[in-house]
């Protein structure tokens, strides 16, 4: 098995590591870097729970290899809230809307919404809801997730 030297930033901190070529980014983040907020739900790119932000874009970390993240800036769900614990607007919107129950799919949903609303982008509700169709939640029936997405799009809910 080939080993590769990689260096990347995770939540603003530089990390270097030697990883096998086959190591997924999700396993690297969870097991090697300790960011267990990255949840692995299906390992085939359907459920969306493992979504993280890589260089500004929401990606499924189960379908990306750690070596492919060499040189990238990665943000996980642990990297969103302010150091004093103040929730990111996406996190706050989901909390206000009761957008989670068991919380297993939640980090992926948070990261997709955070990527789409970053840098003062103001996507419409349709864009956000369209993106949410790539996330499976088995608990909530999506009611709170939809309310949060509409709130983030500036709609009255």
């Amino acid at each position: 098995m080939s080993d590769h030297r990689i260096e990347l930033t995770v939540n603003g901190q530089t990390r270097s590591a030697t990883v096998e070529g086959r190591r997924t980014l999700s396993d690297f983040l969870r097991i090697d870097a300790g960011y267990t907020g990255v949840h692995v739900g299906c390992e085939h790119g359907v459920c969306g729970a493992c979504t993280v932000i890589v260089d500004g874009r929401a990606v499924r970390s189960c379908l990306m290899l750690a070596v492919q993240a060499d040189g990238a800036a990665v943000t996980t769900v642990e990297g969103l809230a302010a150091p004093d614990g103040t929730l990111h607007p996406v996190q706050q919107a989901l909390r206000d809307a009761h957008g989670l129950q068991c919380g297993f799919c939640t980090p992926g949903i948070v990261m997709t919404l955070a990527a789409l609303t970053s840098d003062e982008k103001k996507p419409g509700a349709e864009t956000l809801l369209g993106a949410m169709s790539g996330h499976i939640c088995r608990c909530t029936g999506y009611q709170g997730i939809r309310k949060a997405a509409r709130a983030l799009a500036g709609e009255d809910v």
Partner: protein, 943 residues
């Protein structure tokens, strides 16, 4: 109902959840987030065939791989004696081992476990193991199971469990036959994969021989700990089970099963911490699944559309290793419990097959509501009355209560009619019908569906594991409130709802309350989230414990402040004395004295500020609901668009409406998946065909509409007035949506009885085709001309709910009592021949007198018992003895036949009618158990 609820400062509020901050920031602790020093990782090699014998293993290459620590098979684990127990903690009806022992019985069954430094290496090593199998033809479907060779060696059929009448109920048949209207249909429900977003997983961490810590994703750490201690039977070992955050269960994680038991056993044998996390492929292959049922329901009506009689014939696929052999008594118990029906009877059978075993899924008995509500709509169309009117004429109303409903269920507190009335205040049916009519002229197909139901929630006290809940609450010396609960959340939000109750009842800020759960070493026993029970029972326990603590605080404060306890109030965490503002103290001040200066407490009072209460609720608390749904069907594609969905339910006093609505919404999304999308499939060789989420389709946000809610909130008789709401959406949702689709397709006379209603099936219905499973069977049997004649007879007879006449001998033997009766008859005939004509006579029949070791197959699993008979002429006296106690009886003895009645009070007040035949040292017979149907009894003479 507690009077303070009217103050409603916290109970009834949409309080944000305490769980959310950690879950939103990635700080939850799910089982795979736990790391134990020195931990090794497990991967399983699973059976690639559905049925066969294991001929040989070759594990040498895998063992030689660097990083591999151990490779274990069933032979290695047999060093420990492990009992695989049902949810009710009953031993399994069949031999079950954690790893396949000699035979495999489903694709995905774990055969070999590899233990290695990490999961990558462990999986690599599994690929180096070679196993030779002697493959056999599998039994896959219920139809296969009826005629196929027994899945489990030594069994005489594939019947896993059976209940109901085993003889034709002629008066009921006459009522059905002679009624002005008879509606009959067979509902088929596909197999469902529960699909919690967090798969199964376990870490075993032995702490020497006396304590074993198990981290496991589960529905109750207490129930798992109790299960493990019984399953492993290591008298000096305590199992401590920890499950902080759990990513959903929906019934799948109720009990540890093959893989979890294998990992725990291996950890004990190796003395090493081990971790196994199921991947999604394993979850959709090896994990137990749910549903795969069919129910033929016949319903007779008079000319006014009033119910006269009904018969249900219910079958479900148990797979190879069910969590408990099952034909679910609740299905027939609650089928008509909300309706006025004079006569009802049933027959149910669970069938073993070479597929993944059966587990619970939210509302495991839900097919009763599906079959009833769908056929009620068909009846309304046939009789020519409105679907709402047919319910209005037959539902049990407030005016009818109290009454004893079908199957002897006492009904004194249900409100489905009120829920329906409230629903109709927000759904304008007349306006919809006009819109529907106009749309049809444009070739657009709109439909509206209704359903009503009741659900037993918060059950306790009648089945051994369904207990009360324990709340332990304390005011810490810091003044903060800490509660330790027996409840457990897999997303239910009990850390929030229970905190709302404590804040309300103790008069403290919500922020000051912390609720702990998820560790069997803290708090008392509870089965956790099973049966929509935690809000009802945990909520009641919290109120009672808080009341005890509040009283103590008042007594302490009154004593310290020289005041009357009745003048002491607690608000916002401050203890006040009416009319004496200067005497106000913080809870912290009171607590510091209660813990640190016990001399200042009233004489004889226990120090500290702690209270504990185990609440046992009424036996059952009913939740009622009525739902409506409007759909539009695309005639070109067969796609169903859900345009509106309104829930009107009566779940009593709501602790947190957002959590109530969240529970209903989640259940409704699962209902939508059930009706439109999800179907776990097997091919003819028993290979699962839907092992990814691209093939097993779960509802996405685009499949689920905005739900509207109407709440009725009639307080229940339980403490706090709460009613359970965990499963209801998943029970009432499917028929609501099916009825809307059937209404839309009414111009085509479509019968929507076969789930899921995929676009292709809907297009077939619009083309006038019969999509029922019965029709599919017919097509199949036409193709297989050789088998056609025999098969057609069997299907026809089973379809009309017959009880054995005309069935092939093997099928007749599978009916309840059939095998025994046939065998007994054969034996006695043989013995007579011998006695009459042979010199080498059989041993003379010995007397039934004496002790017998017996096993009765009950709906709660097999129960062992001892029977003792004393015979005097035609009279028999004796006693039964079991772990539940001893009971005496008198009856009659006629030759080798013994009959007696036994009145019992648990699980319900019923009279057990024993009918036993004894041949030599073998006892066989049946026990009529009132509404629980008939149980088989087998035994042998005690040594």
């Amino acid at each position: 109902m507690n009077p303070t609820i009217n103050a409603a400062r916290f109970i009834g509020q949409r309080v944000p959840r305490k769980e959310d901050h950690r879950l939103l920031t990635g700080r939850g602790t799910f089982v795979d987030d736990v790391v134990v020093a020195g931990m090794l990782h497990v991967a399983f090699l699973r059976s690639p065939i559905a049925r066969g014998r294991i001929l040989s293993f070759d594990t040498a290459a895998a063992r030689a791989m660097p990083g591999v620590h151990a490779i274990l098979t069933a032979a290695d684990l047999s060093a420990l004696k492990i009992d695989m127990l049902s949810f009710f903690l009953a031993p399994a009806e069949i031999a079950i081992t954690p790893l396949a022992d000699g035979r495999v019985a489903y694709v995905g069954e774990p055969v070999v476990m590899v233990i290695a430094v990490d999961r990558y290496v462990a999986e690599d090593a599994t690929s180096l193991i070679e196993i030779d199998y002697d493959e056999e033809d599998p039994v896959v479907t219920i139809d296969d199971a009826r005629t196929g060779a027994p899945v489990h060696p030594g069994m005489d059929s594939n019947v896993a469990a059976a209940m109901g009448e085993d003889e034709i109920n002629e008066p009921l048949e006459a009522l059905l036959r002679d009624a002005p209207h008879l509606i009959s249909g067979t509902i088929t429900h596909q197999r469902i994969a529960q699909s919690p977003m967090e798969t199964r997983g376990v870490i075993v961490s032995p702490q020497g021989s006396e304590e074993i810590i198990v981290y496991i994703t589960c529905a109750s750490p207490h129930l798992i700990a109790r299960n493990l201690s019984m399953a492993f039977n290591l008298p000096n070992t305590n199992f401590r089970v920890i499950a902080k955050d759990v990513g959903g269960s929906f019934g799948l994680k109720n009990q540890p099963w093959k893989e979890e038991m294998a990992v725990i056993a291996a950890g004990i044998l190796l003395g090493r911490p081990l971790k196994w996390i199921e991947d999604r492929w394993e979850n959709l292959t090896g994990a137990n699944q749910a549903r795969e049922q069919e129910m033929t329901l016949r319903i007779a009506f008079d000319n006014d559309g009033k119910l006269l009689a009904s018969h249900a014939d219910y079958h479900l696929n148990n797979g190879a290793y069910p969590h408990g052999a099952d034909c679910n008594i609740a299905v027939v118990m609650f089928l008509w419990s909300a309706y006025k029906i004079p006569e009802f009877s049933f027959q149910t059978q669970g069938w073993f097959s070479n597929t993944a075993g059966l587990a619970a899924y939210r509302g495991p008995w839900a097919i009763e509501t599906l079959a009833r509500e769908v056929l009620l709509d068909e009846a309304a169309r046939k009789i020519g009355i409105d679907p709402i009117e047919i319910r209005r004429r037959n539902l049990i109303t407030r005016a009818d209560q109290p009454m004893v409903a079908s199957m002897g269920i006492p009904i004194d507190d249900i409100s489905p009619m009120e829920c329906l009335d409230k629903l109709l205040e927000v759904v304008d049916v007349a306006a919809f019908r006009i819109e529907q009519e106009a749309a049809r002229k444009e070739g657009r197909y709109l439909g509206i569906g209704f359903a009503t139901y009741i659900e037993p929630t918060g059950a306790a006290g009648s089945i051994n594991v369904m207990t009360g809940e324990l709340a332990h609450v304390q005011i810490e010396p810091t003044g903060k409130v800490t509660a330790i609960m027996s409840t457990h959340s897999q997303g239910h939000g009990t850390q929030t709802t229970m905190a709302q109750i404590f804040a309300e009842e103790l008069g403290v800020p919500f922020e000051d309350v912390t609720v702990h759960e998820g560790d069997s070493s803290r708090g008392g026993f509870s089965p956790g989230a099973a049966g929509s029970r935690q809000g009802v029972i945990g909520g009641g326990a919290s109120i009672k414990a808080a009341g005890l603590l509040r009283d103590k605080i008042k007594k302490v404060a009154a004593h310290l402040l020289n005041a009357n306890p009745d003048d002491v109030t607690i608000e916002g965490g401050m203890v006040r004395v009416r009319g004496a503002e200067e005497m106000t103290r913080s809870l912290r001040q009171i607590a510091e004295i209660a813990y640190g200066e016990p001399d200042r407490l009233p004489p004889g009072m226990e120090s500290g500020l702690e209270a504990q209460y185990r609440y046992n609720p009424p036996p059952m608390t009913f939740t009622s609901a009525a739902h409506a749904c409007i759909v539009e069907i695309d005639a070109e594609t067969g796609f169903v668009k859900i345009k509106r969905w309104v829930s009107s339910e009566d779940c009593g006093v709501m602790i947190n409406p957002a959590i109530v609505e969240g529970q209903i919404s989640g259940g409704l999304a699962q209902a939508i998946g059930t009706v439109l999308l999800e179907e776990f499939g097997y091919d003819d060789r028993g290979n699962p065909t839907t092992v990814t989420f691209k093939d097993y389709m779960l509802p996405a946000i685009s499949d689920v509409p905005d739900f509207e809610f109407v709440h009725a909130n009639t307080p229940s008789q339980a403490e706090g007035g709460f009613r359970g709401v965990g499963e209801g959406g998943c029970i009432i949702g499917p028929p609501t949506l099916v009825n809307a689709i059937a209404d839309a397709l009414s111009p085509f006379n479509a019968r929507c009885l076969d789930l899921p209603l995929t676009p292709s099936k809907i297009l077939q219905l619009m083309e006038g085709k019969d999509i029922s499973r019965a029709a599919q069977r017919q097509v199949k049997s036409d193709a297989a001309a050789a088998a056609a004649a025999a098969k057609a007879v069997a299907e026809k007879e089973v379809h009309i709910g017959s009880h054995g006449e005309g069935l092939p001998p093997m099928a007749a033997a599978m009916l309840p009592g059939g095998a025994d009766a046939a065998a007994l008859e054969a034996e006695s005939t043989e013995s007579e021949v011998h006695a009459d004509g042979s010199a080498t006579e059989a041993a003379p029949p010995s007397s039934p007198a004496g002790d017998w070791d017996c096993v009765m197959s009950t709906p709660m699993g097999p129960q062992t018992m001892k029977l003792h008979f004393d015979i005097e002429g035609d009279a028999v006296t004796g006693y039964t003895s079991s772990p539940d106690g001893t009971a005496e009886f008198t009856g009659i003895a006629l030759g080798n036949q013994i009959k007696f009645d036994l009145k019992v009070t648990k699980p319900m007040k019923i009279t057990l009618k024993y009918d036993i035949a004894i041949e030599g040292d073998v006892l066989a017979g049946k026990v009529k158990m009132g509404l629980f149907g008939t149980a088989k009894l087998k035994g042998s003479r005690a040594e």
